[in-house]
């Protein structure tokens, strides 16, 4: 239960656990603040994707709590999903739909009024340079175009919390730049973002705070300066810090 006097965290994970054949997430406690860009880093199999899938309501935790802007996501998943967007590395789109039809579908699912959704769809597609392709089916799109379509879908319902799992995988530099710029704008507008990535430069440049997870547990958290101090490497890159901390925890 969150403290009623304190401003609700954008995301609060409490002793979150999930096991498959072994523990994937092992008592994870995490808080993301409103308007914060939070990067969740970790080696392969650390539990990043499992964590995000539990927050998005795609996976049930074995125990623990998930709270999104004060809404208990396990007790009232529909209310939590209403303010959350989930964007995995594989774009979740329909090949036989056009980008505009896809956005109309997403807006319908999130009950965005048509008079709001339609201009927003146009703005997003123009911004992501997909407007010229709005009436073409996604099946002919490149991976980058599909990922941009999925991103537009994630943004059209103006989520307060965005969960991005390796959103830049396989994108070329220009498209990756477009996506990063759009994400930063959303954070500046008040949205919160939790992003996982193996591209540490992205986390270094974009994230307000960084969490490092290993074997389902948070082993370090803070700003880049905090992490450097924790690793005892005052002038190192995030890559050096990350490797040092994850090796220490091994």
């Amino acid at each position: 239960m969150s403290d009623a006097s304190a401003p609700a965290a954008a995301l609060r994970l409490t002793a979150l656990r999930k096991s498959f054949s072994k523990a994937a997430v092992d008592g994870l406690d995490l808080i993301v603040r409103p308007g914060e860009f939070y990067a969740l880093l970790g080696p392969n199999g650390a539990g990043k994707t499992t964590t995000l899938r539990m927050i998005a309501g795609l996976l049930a935790p074995d125990s623990g709590g998930v709270e999104v802007f004060g809404v208990n996501a396990l007790a009232d998943p529909v209310a939590a999903k209403q303010i959350v967007a989930w964007l995995p590395d594989e774009p979740m789109i329909y090949d036989k739909l056009t980008p505009l039809e896809y956005l109309e579908f997403v807006a319908g699912l999130w009950s965005v009024p048509p008079d709001v959704a339609e201009p927003e769809a146009e703005a997003l597609l123009r911004r992501l340079e997909l407007w010229e392709h709005r009436d073409q089916r996604c099946e002919g799109f490149s991976r980058g175009m599909k990922q941009k379509t999925a991103l537009a879908g994630a943004l059209i319902h103006a989520p307060k919390l965005m969960l991005l799992d390796e959103p830049l995988t396989g994108l070329d530099a220009a498209i990756a730049r477009q996506v990063k710029d759009l994400l930063v704008e959303r954070v500046q507008a008040g949205a919160s973002i939790v992003l996982t990535t193996h591209i540490l430069e992205v986390a270094e440049k974009l994230a307000d705070r960084i969490g490092i997870i290993r074997n389902g547990r948070l082993i370090a958290e803070g700003t880049l300066g905090d992490l450097r101090a924790q690793a005892g490497q005052a002038h190192s890159t995030l890559e050096d810090v990350f490797l040092r901390l994850t090796q220490e925890a091994a």
Partner: protein, 524 residues
């Protein structure tokens, strides 16, 4: 074998085919799988016994032997051609290892000749399963000359594949790779359905025509189309065990196949390259810079519209679903003819319509639930799983209604009472198979709609059982007997037994379609 040679490539393809076949028994021990295969072989041989006895009688009397074999070939040859067409389009579009082979420094002609050979083997194996048991039993009863069916069938496989390859490459040349898949599938369907309808052809023609056909077949005038010594009857004589004819038929088939496989190898290669890069959508001219349509609100309309769009935009998929309608046509003919003088066409179509509606509903509901393109996306939307299921069911109902609307309308004019009962049973049958697929999702790709039961054989068996029960119930109802309640009760019991027991507070499950529960997966 020299790596990269034709034989090496053929062996590679056949090994993959074998592993696909063996994959059907992946959860069984080798001994159990062997026992099942042996039981199936024994079963096919037992079923072939009456056919063999009948053929032995024709063989002994002599006069009707060739017409009987010819009738069999009229089924087998189109079947092989149809299989070859399907296998060729699948090889070109499903790709598999085609990209790897085309990127290798192998001669494309060798690659495609090997592919063609594998297609021929697969096509002949599809028919051999049913034909060879008959040949074996014939050999047991009527003499060893019936073993000539083995080489004759192999030759038929080569000849049929040659025809299939010619049709495919011709289609690719004239209509382009984008449409080729659909058109080739339709042609394969029509050829396959032609064989099914051909089975009943003798029952459809008038008694006078039938008598004339029998007379011509038994005592053909020399030089006519029915002359058993003519070239048209070469495969018939080969299958009947005439050595000269068998040699000629084998040489002709193998030469035709080699000419096509080697001669069209380059064309097939081009078709494969085009198929790989074929846009599956017509590029549209750039529209003016304005929203091209108005957004509409609501979860329900959004979900329904999405399902309908996905269906309407995949004509190949639709043709696969429609196959079931074509294959049900012969059933109507059989029922119609078996009803005797008092039989009416409405009475004959009604049970077939129930089967069609239930099968179409089953296919569409599988597409809507199990082959959902973005299950995680739907699961992340602020909509309950139950709401999504309900909307998807609604989306499935409309196309099923469309499929049966025209025949039902005809029935209303001809026999309104039959039409009303048919509508009621169509709704019941469609709902039951749709619910079955909603309760027991078996995730797969949309293109696998006709092979969906490979994952869930029990659900497939239940689907067919329900269709038959509702169809039977309708027939008995139309004959005004209370015995109709028996199949209805059994159908109800089947549904009740299959209904998943939902736990309260069902947890979402990763990467599974919305609405899937742990109990629902237990059947697979």
């Amino acid at each position: 074998m020299k790596p990269g040679s034709l034989v090496w490539l053929v062996a590679h393809d056949l090994r993959l085919s074998w592993r696909r076949f063996a994959g059907m028994f992946r959860n069984m021990s080798g001994r159990r799988a062997g026992l099942i295969v042996a039981a199936a072989v024994a079963c096919f041989h037992l079923l072939a016994w009456p056919a063999a006895r009948w053929m032995a009688n024709r063989d002994a009397s002599g006069d009707m032997l060739y017409p009987a074999v010819a009738a069999g070939l009229l089924m087998v040859l189109p079947w092989i051609v149809s299989s070859a067409l399907t296998n060729t389009t699948r090889a070109l579009y499903t790709r598999g290892d085609l990209d790897l082979l085309q990127a290798s420094p192998l001669n494309p002609r060798t690659v495609f000749a090997a592919k063609a050979f594998s297609i021929a083997v697969e096509s002949m194996m599809a028919t051999a399963v049913f034909i060879l048991p008959v040949a074996n039993m014939n050999a047991l009863i009527g003499g060893a000359h019936w073993l000539a069916v083995y080489p004759a069938l192999a030759a038929a496989g080569f000849a049929g594949t040659a025809v299939g390859l010619v049709v495919t490459t011709t289609l690719a040349a004239f209509i382009g790779p984008r449409r080729m898949r659909l058109v080739a599938q339709v042609v394969a369907t029509l050829v396959g359905a032609g064989f099914a309808l051909g089975l009943q052809a003798i029952n459809i023609v008038s008694p006078e025509t039938r008598g004339w056909l029998y007379e011509m077949a038994a005592h053909p005038p020399a030089g006519s189309l029915f002359d058993h010594d003519g070239w048209l009857w070469l495969p018939v004589r080969a299958f009947a065990g005439e050595i000269d004819a068998l040699l000629a038929w084998s040489v002709f088939s193998v030469l035709a196949f080699l000419a096509v496989a080697l001669g069209l190898g380059a064309r097939l290669g081009r078709a494969a390259i085009l198929a790989a890069g074929a846009p599956q959508v017509e590029p549209k001219p750039q529209a003016a810079a304005r929203p091209s349509r108005r957004f509409r609100a609501g979860v329900g309309p959004s979900l329904r519209r999405k399902e309908w769009r996905l269906l309407a935009r995949d004509p190949w998929l639709l043709s696969q679903v429609l196959l079931q309608i074509i294959y049900t046509a012969p059933v109507s003919v059989v029922i119609w003819k078996s009803l005797g003088p008092q039989g009416s066409l409405s009475l004959a179509i009604a049970p077939a319509l129930v089967v069609v509606s239930s099968q179409v509903a089953a296919s569409l509901s599988w597409l809507a639930v199990s082959s959902e393109d973005a299950p995680d996306f739907l699961a992340s939307a602020p909509v309950t799983a139950a709401a999504v299921e309900r909307r998807k069911l609604e989306a499935v109902a409309a196309p099923v209604g469309l499929f049966i609307a025209a025949p039902l309308a005809g029935m209303v004019v001809a026999a309104p009472d039959i039409a009303v009962w048919t509508l009621i049973f169509c709704v019941a049958a469609s709902a039951s198979t749709a619910f079955l697929n909603f309760w027991h999702p078996a995730p797969g790709k949309r293109g696998d709609v006709m092979r969906r039961h490979a994952q869930s054989k029990l659900v497939g068996a239940m689907e067919h059982l329900l269709a038959l029960l509702w169809s039977l119930a309708l027939m008995i109802t139309l004959f005004e007997s209370f015995w109709a309640l028996a199949p209805i009760a059994i159908a109800g019991a089947v549904l009740a037994a299959n209904r998943p027991r939902r736990a309260t507070g069902v947890k979402p499950v990763a990467s599974q379609p919305t609405g899937m529960t742990s109990t629902a997966t237990s059947m697979r």
